[in-house]
């Protein structure tokens, strides 16, 4: 009965609500006195309850009712926000999420949490008290022979749009043909005082006992409080008309109605599952592939058309170009998701970790709006959970140790996401005790991961942490010992064509950085000419293009350092590195690209221009050529390799050099 689009609007709305709710709860943990946050929680719960029930989430609504009552108690000053309340609320929040997602957690859980909520807001708070009146007992209905109903409507009843005749019709419908109606006119004023727009008549209605009390009361659902109303049952003991037959007729009908209701409810449930619009990643990949092919074909068409020089044809080609670009952007946008879609669970994790370890720390999230391919984001969740756990469990010291070390008692763990050229960097930084390279080295030797005389750079030593077999049982605690190991972090990230970088200073803290390509199948590239060859670098990584200074044109070593714009910059000569033949250019260029937080220059012969680069994976045979992230097919059918600048810099041994310079 509820269509897909409504369901989707509902899903989006509740998603925003539960996020807002969790944020407010977590914020409340920090500033328990913030009345606005309490109101926020209350309001979110309210709306969730309301809309939830309308979309068939009866259990959810029923549970939230009590959850809400706890915060109503806080709002009205009958209870205060305590860490216990927040802890229970977060569990209650989990239940809400589970119920919204259509899971069916054990029903006892509701009661457990309800009483926990009531307990933490104890006192005179009406937390657990149900406001809803209990449903009238069906068994009792059977004993009723008849109902005597008398009522008098409020005087302005018709003025505000009410219809007394419709009400009587409804009562007759409920009671059937045996219903008796009598007007009570004793309240009528004298004719001279009578306002014809006002109601003064009362009624007495006698309905058969088979009518349900709640159906009758429903007729007056709005007006009970403003009117005179009495509904009295006439019990069987009293001599009254025999109604046995009638009851038997009615019972099966009622049962059938009940069955229909249930069927409708399960229909609704089935409907919920059906309308969830989920597209498999495979299909998206499929679309992306086709769009890629389209972009290549379009480039070829453009190439041919410009050779023919037919202006009519060019017009069509330009149109196709625009359409293909639009299609590409839309397709890519479908796949992009902001990092914030998973940060909520980290907020929560941080809160739980603080509770379990007893370590006091601030959890800061930066750059949530950074967008990544959806599949990448989903796969990142587990590795990040692991790194975060490690940061709190192994990284942060307890308050006493921190104070003794002259640090603030409260630690800080920062999760940040940002773009770096064509990559996205996601890092987890703590200001804890840092990593001890000597200790790691020693352990790696013990475990046989490296030889005793191995010469390793600092970053190579830290990288040992992620080798399978490095972590040992001694290190495993309740927190970090579960889930994926650090070696799995590495393999997951590398599976996404990314890398993990670890930086740490003993005593000052550590930073784990996941470097991930945007992994879009199509990127905006800058096409470069080096001799006879063409290469592409992601345009997003390009910081600028300058003429090659004279000093650079002379040398021929693959890498060098020159002063450019008053800064020392490492230059990579692509001609020498890739051993390209062919003519040079009179005005060669340097393309400045950013990688790993530093700028390097690529010396090239010519800039061809920006280019829609459809990334084609290199075959497994070429997988060791990691300085290329793929290849692309150009409009004329030639192939250009896509340079992975970070890998190129690493392959030339410039990354350590840079770090040493920085250090």
């Amino acid at each position: 009965m509820i269509d897909a689009e409504t369901q989707e609007i509902f899903r989006q709305e509740t998603e925003a609500l539960i996020e807002s709710l969790q944020d407010a709860l977590l914020a409340l943990n920090k500033t328990p006195d913030d009345a606005e946050l309490v109101t926020q929680v209350f309001r979110d719960l309210h709306t969730l309850k309301g809309t939830g029930a309308m979309f068939g989430y009866a259990r959810l609504a029923e549970f939230i009712h009590d959850f809400e009552a706890a915060f109503e108690a806080v709002r009205s000053g009958n209870a205060t926000v305590t860490p216990d309340l927040i802890a229970v609320s977060l569990k209650a929040y989990d239940l809400i999420v589970a119920l919204l997602e259509g899971e069916e957690p054990p029903v006892e859980r509701d009661a457990e949490l309800k009483s926990a909520l009531a307990a933490v807001t104890a006192g005179d708070a009406p937390a657990a008290a149900s406001i809803d009146a209990p449903e009238p007992d069906v068994a009792e209905d059977g004993e009723v022979e008849a109902w005597i109903l008398t009522f008098k409507l409020p005087p302005d009843f018709m003025e505000i749009g009410g219809n007394p005749i419709a009400m009587l019709d409804e009562l007759i419908e409920i009671g059937g043909a045996d219903t008796k109606v009598r007007a009570l006119t004793d309240g009528l004023p004298a004719l001279a005082d009578l306002n014809p727009a006002e109601m003064h008549t009362g009624w007495e209605v006698i309905l058969p006992g088979g009518a349900s009390e709640s159906d009758i009361m429903d007729v007056f659902m709005f007006h009970e409080d403003q009117m005179e109303l009495s509904l009295k049952p006439v019990r069987k003991e009293k001599p009254a008309v025999q109604q046995d037959l009638r009851e038997e007729e009615l019972q099966p009908g009622a049962q059938q109605q009940e069955a229909e209701k249930k069927a409708a409810a399960s229909d609704r449930k089935g409907g919920t599952a059906k309308v969830q619009m989920r597209v498999s990643a495979e299909r998206l990949d499929d679309i992306m592939d086709r769009v890629g092919e389209l972009v290549i074909a379009e480039a070829r068409l453009t190439d041919l058309a410009s050779k023919l020089g037919n202006s009519d044809l060019m017009e069509v080609v330009e149109n196709i170009q625009r359409l293909a670009l639009g299609l590409r952007d839309t397709t890519m946008a479908i796949r992009l998701t902001p990092v914030s879609s998973i940060t909520g669970r980290f907020q929560r994790l941080a809160h739980d970790l603080a509770g379990k370890t007893g370590k006091d720390f601030d959890f800061v999230i930066e750059g949530e709006e950074t967008e990544l391919d959806k599949t990448v984001i989903e796969k990142l969740s587990d590795p990040l959970v692991h790194i975060l756990r490690n940061a709190v469990d192994h990284g942060l010291e307890d308050s006493d140790t921190r104070i003794a070390a002259g640090k603030p008692a409260r630690g800080t763990v920062t999760l940040s996401a940002r773009y770096s050229g064509a990559d996205v960097l996601i890092s987890v930084k703590d200001d804890g005790k840092g990593l001890d390279p000597d200790f790691i080295r020693g352990r790696a030797i013990d475990r046989g991961l490296i030889g005793e005389d191995a010469v390793l750079s600092r970053s190579e030593i830290f990288a040992l942490l992620m080798e399978p077999g490095f972590s040992t049982a001694e290190q495993i605690t309740d927190l970090s010992g579960r889930g994926v190991g650090t070696d799995v972090v590495k393999s997951t990230v590398e599976g996404l064509r990314g890398s993990v970088e670890i930086e740490s200073e003993l005593g000052a803290g550590s930073t784990f950085t996941l470097r991930l390509p945007l992994t879009l199948a199509i990127i905006e590239g800058l096409l470069l000419q080096v001799g006879d060859e063409r290469f592409t670098v992601p345009l997003a990584a390009v910081g600028g293009i300058v003429e090659q200074p004279e000093e650079l044109k002379k040398g021929s070593e693959p890498t060098t350092v020159i002063e450019l714009r008053e800064e020392l910059i490492s230059i990579l000569r692509l001609r020498e590195i890739f051993e390209c033949d062919g003519p040079t250019n009179e005005h060669p260029k340097v393309v400045l690209v950013e990688t790993g937080g530093t700028q390097v220059g690529l010396a090239v012969d010519r800039i061809i221009g920006s280019y829609q680069t459809v990334i084609k994976q290199l075959s497994p045979m070429h997988s060791r050529l990691n300085v290329f992230s793929g290849a692309t097919i150009l409009g004329d059918g030639d192939v250009a390799l896509i340079v992975d600048v970070a890998q190129l810099v690493r392959s030339q041994g410039l990354d350590n050099q840079n770090k040493e310079q920085a250090a």
Partner: protein, 121 residues
């Protein structure tokens, strides 16, 4: 001629759900996003019924009812007050402002239809 109903609610899903439920039953439905917009719409023509939420930006449901009832054109137009507030006094406030009745959220489609049919049917 089909009956025309105005629904005023800031929640898109509630609005849509109400509209859809009523449209399926052959009612004509006009939507407004808050009290102020609702007031403008309600005054622009005569509806057979107005359904309004309470908690909305710009103008709350009760404020809307008060303002609308000040306009003579509202005479005899039933207003149903929609709210998640469980406080009884809001109901009473809505009633004294001139609402015919209320539906407490949470409500189901069947309940909504029952009320609407009861009021305009």
């Amino acid at each position: 001629m089909s009956k025309e109903i105005l629904i005023i609610d800031d929640s898109p899903s509630v609005r849509r759900m109400v509209a859809m439920t009523l449209q399926q039953e052959g009612f004509e439905v006009t939507q407004a996003e808050d009290g102020a917009q609702g007031l403008e719409t309600a005054k622009s023509k005569r509806f057979d019924m107005v359904i309004t939420d309470q908690n909305m930006p710009n103008m709350t449901g009760i404020e809307f009812i008060q303002a609308y009832r000040n306009d003579p054109s509202s005479s005899g137009v039933p207003i149903i007050f929609l709210s998640t507030e469980s406080e009884g006094n809001l109901k009473d406030q809505a009633r004294s402002a001139g609402a015919l009745g209320w539906i407490m959220k949470p409500f189901e489609q069947a309940k909504l239809l029952a009320v609407v049919n009861k009021v305009v049917g």
